[in-house]
Amino acid sequence: MTALLDMIPIGAEQAWLVAALPFAAFVILAIGRLQILPQAASWVSVAAIGIAFIGSLGVLGDYLANGEYVGKIVWLSAGGSEFGLSYIVDSLSVMMIILVTSVSLAVQVYSLEYMKGDERFGWYFAAHSLFAASMLALVLTGSLLLLYISWELVGLCSFLLIGFYWERRSAAEAAKKAFITTRFGDVGLLIGIIVAYLSTGTFDIREVIASLSGGEAALVAFLLFLGAMGKSAQFPFHIWLPDAMEGPTPVSALIHAATMVAAGVFLVARMFDLFVEAPGVLWFVAVIGLVTAILAGLLALGEIDFKRILAYSTVSQLGLMMLALGAAGLSANVEHRDPSGGMFHLLTHGYFKALLFLTAGVALHAIHASSASIYQVRGLRIGAPLTAAALIIGSLSLAGIPPLSGFFSKEGILAPALEIETLPGYLLFFGAVIASFLSALYMTRLALVVAQGGPAPPVESHDGEGSHAAVLHDAPPLMSVPLVALGALAIFLGIVLAFGWDFIEFLTHGHREFHFDMLLALASTLTAVAGIGVGLNYWNNRERVDDGVLEAVAGPLKLVQNRFYIDAAAQWVIDRIVLVFAGFIREVDRRVVNDAGVDGPAARTVDAGQLLRGMQTGFVFNYALVFTIAAVIIVAVAVLAETV
């Protein structure tokens, strides 16, 4: 296989091309949007991401053959110092570019059909390309500065895509919410980068990691983690992700699998050696991860919207990844302090979560709605067997049933907590087990209701066209191909990467190998089976059992339904503080700066510019006088300076 990879003409040296290609596609589409036919536009985008995917495989081949590579495109050299884009080709970035390009490719191919006929078809693909490009730049870059820029670009693209149907108020609101919520975390990231620069004098990621230690390392790590929390939707910033479902469904697949939310986890992994310097921060990471995982698991149980359940499941899985990363850094075995466990799960999760979202997309596409409760799309098995199968595979993989890919990576999530070998460590482990149990439970509920269930009731269409009987059917071929490909990955990727081609060894540069712990595997499988069993028992062949659950655990679940009031609180903060403040600034600008400084003749006195402007009388002899006086003053000052 390596020989095959070597044939691809893009190697580690040209890794920047992987990010540049989708960016070029974006530029072409954004500029030529009006000139190019939408259909052609979409193919430009798909071709770019396709070549980028092949290129990233080439980078992998080069990496396997020649090891790490740090490249730099010198952008400008001034006064002896060079400024440029440096990019790191190591196992982490190679893994990420393959994940991002492959998921983007699958999603874009899927979107060709899904978005067909949309009036902003071309724009959709342009934004999509930029999204992929900025995420690729984020994972490849070797500079914190560029990382920050692409980080913000990712945020911007998610804003554009979540608010894709901006005529719809809820979509606009959701986009705003996603943007502002993640911005809170970004402030931390920015300050962290500035602190790192001030204490090391460089933006280079590797140099920063190497030269920071002690308190400074802890401070920087903590600040960076704030950014990661925002992007990866960790408690209490998790509120934006479920609302992000307002965008087109393939966008959700992209956000949840490869771009956007993966960025936070990636950041922690990229800066992992810095986090290891600060055990306190690692505990913080692990606990936040755990809280998020359990909280989101509960929220998923209280939700009936198809895509929102998937969104909460993403939040909970991201929490588990954070937990694994934090715990891995605290491991009693120094050899085991690496981010491989969390990253393995990020990879497998990326594929099966994309799969799940795309199945949701098929269902929603079939009933022409942009969102639906799981009861509205029941009976997928009857009308759309392929989609139902994909859904079940994805759910089982997420639940962690062997030998699906989720099973192998879940082990990497659970093992680090045990290796801390202290009581709090064991508590973390049990927390993680509970979260896994919850995962199995909510996925069972989802799969059971949607795939099995009776015939769906008439659907209240969201576009207001009245109700009509939904006809669920499988997707056209163009949408099915990505489904099948991702389904195959969800089944086989884990076992291949565990036993066929050791992924852990790849990630840790051969320090470690994939270790199959029988006991842990058993525990993990039992948890999953228990979750599925409880779920089956509870939800099998019942109509709208949620009401029953509500009565049973009314109090806590009410809290759950209100999403722990966090949502309301955040909304309040955004509406009452951020926007009011922004409005205030705008008023200041409008009234004080603009009116007084530019328009208002009344307030023209104190301005420095005004005074200087007064010199410009318009009389030519005045100008000559100024000219002469200036020359005389220069002579006088120079002579004085010489004689004194």
């Binding site: 010198v74 952008w75 400008l76 050299s77 001034a78 006064g79 002896g80 110092s81 400024f83 700066v593 603009n594 400084g597 530019v598 301005d607 420095a608 510019g609 005004q610 200087l612 402007r613 010199m615 410009q616 318009g618 030519v620 005045n622 100008y623 000559a624 100024v626 000219f627 006086i629 200036a630 020359a631 220069i634 002579v635 120079a638 002579v639 010489e642």
Partner: protein, 483 residues
């Protein structure tokens, strides 16, 4: 040997005379021939200059003209700027009586500018400068039936005459002190002199005369009035090419001829630089006429460039010289885009106020986008050429010596001030409503292509500035006989 560079000067002069003659023989000269032909030939000459330059240094007639990569760099810049201006005037020339003369004068101005870059001797430099100035005096008052334009021309020529008297006095004193006017002889003469009142007068007069040409505060007073009164294509040429020509002369003069006294004199340039960037950017905030606003903004830009001139006295003068070269190109390109958009708006509406571009994004999104790009570039936003060039210039100046740190700090502060009025224009275009009954603005295909080309250049230059930076570095190195 680099004698091929002698050719462009003759070619452009020949073209100019050709256009003069054609204007006489064929009174209603076809606009197509004149504008497209003229621009195409000028652009071809630009390409020829770039190809023909072999990197050698050739001294013409004992060194009164020097042909090296530095000259070639500016030759190409001036010829291309002239081509852009001619192309941009395609609609303007049909509204005037003798279009051939207009184009010919632009070409003569270009010859003058080229002479300023190549001059290796003070008399040649002076005559080239006057050739440029005279052409511009006529061009700036070209639509003389209009009072405003007439006034602008009057102010320009009267103040220009005074400035050239000062400059001549300075040249005379330099000659009296050193016995020669060739730059290298002047340098060897000056190196044996200790500072004296005579030398100070010489330097001050040169500074005043050339400060006028590049519009440095406090010798800038003519700039806003002339920019506002002159026809827009000429304002564009004044802002982009005439200013660059002034710096082309100034760099070689300061770096070669005044090299022995450059350290002694650098505080004057620092002072002019700081005054220029503060005054230019502060007063620009208050302007309501876009041409006038651009005039003040250009004064601010001159301040940044003058910092580079001041740094020429430092250990490694090639670096600041390269910085000035890059920023000159970047400034010229960005400012051209801005003026071409103003020209397009003016041609349809006859208006040029800040308020008159309100809602431009709705009236013509392309023009609004182009103007936004140009202003962002001038303000120094990342990913436009203005950012790269400003960054380069400030870095090389700041590393030239500790005494430049505070001026560079002020320059960065001044850039922040400039953001205010640039963004104000952008806000007008995108947020404010257009006037009642203001229809869409149409752009001719020529103009559209021209603006698009320049816009692509400033974006491409911002994304990948290395080719330009390397060209400028080679050019700057050739000044000092290196490489």
């Amino acid at each position: 040997m680099n004698w091929a560079l002698l050719l462009p000067g003759y070619l452009v002069t020949g073209l100019a005379f050709g256009a003069f003659t054609l204007d006489l023989i064929v009174p209603r000269l076809s606009r197509t021939v004149l504008v497209y032909g003229g621009a195409a030939v000028m652009a071809a000459i630009g390409v020829f200059i770039i190809v023909a330059n072999d990197g050698e240094t050739s001294r013409f007639a004992g060194g009164i003209l020097i042909f090296d990569t530095y000259s070639a760099f500016f030759f190409a810049l001036f010829v291309i700027l002239a081509a852009v201006t001619i192309l941009g005037s395609s609609q303007f020339v049909s509204s005037i009586d003798s279009p051939g003369e207009f184009v010919a004068l632009l070409m003569m101005a270009t010859v003058g500018a080229m002479g300023m870059a190549a001059a290796g001797e003070l008399i040649t430099a002076y005559i080239s400068l006057e050739l440029l100035s005279f052409s511009l005096y006529i061009l700036a008052s070209y639509t003389w039936k209009e009072r405003r334009t007439n006034e602008a021309g009057m102010k320009y020529i009267l103040l220009g005459a005074i400035a050239s008297a000062f400059l001549l006095l300075g040249i005379t004193y330099i000659y009296g002190l050193t016995g020669d006017t060739r730059y290298d002889e002047v340098a060897s003469g000056l190196s044996t002199l200790s500072p004296s009142p005579g030398l100070i007068i010489a330097l001050a007069m040169l500074t005043a005369g050339l400060g006028f040409k590049v519009a440095a505060v406090p010798f800038h007073m003519w700039t806003p009035d002339v920019y506002e009164g002159a026809p827009i294509p000429i304002t564009a040429y004044l802002a982009a090419a005439s200013k660059a020509a002034g710096f082309a002369l100034l760099i070689r003069l300061v770096a070669v001829a005044l090299e022995p006294v450059a350290l002694f004199w650098d505080w004057v340039f620092i002072l002019l630089a700081v005054l220029s960037m503060m005054l230019g950017n502060l007063v620009a905030i208050l302007q309501s006429n876009l041409k006038r606003l651009m005039a003040y903004s250009s004064i601010g830009q001159v301040g940044y460039l003058l910092l580079g001139i001041a740094a020429l006295g430092a250990d490694d003068p090639a670096k600041p010289a390269a910085g000035i070269l890059i920023h000159s190109v970047s400034y010229a390109a960005s400012t051209m885009v801005a003026f071409m958009v103003l020209l397009a708006v003016w041609q349809q509406t006859g208006k040029e106020g800040v308020r008159d571009v309100a809602g431009l994004a709705r009236r013509n999104p392309f023009l609004a986008l182009a103007l936004t790009g140009a202003l962002f570039s001038l303000a120094g936003f990342p990913f436009f050429i203005g950012f790269a060039s400003k960054f380069y210039l400030f870095t090389v100046v700041a590393t030239a010596g500790t005494r430049f740190l505070v001026p560079v700090g002020i320059a960065i502060f001044a850039s922040l001030i400039s953001l205010y009025y640039y963004l104000n224009i952008v806000r007008q275009m995108y947020i404010e409503q257009p006037e009642e009954g203001a229809g869409p603005i149409r752009v001719s295909r020529t103009m559209w292509l021209l603006i698009l080309g320049l816009l692509v250049a400033i974006v491409a230059g911002g994304l990948y500035v290395r080719p330009l930076a390397e060209a400028a570095e080679t050019a700057a190195a050739s000044l000092f006989g290196g490489e």
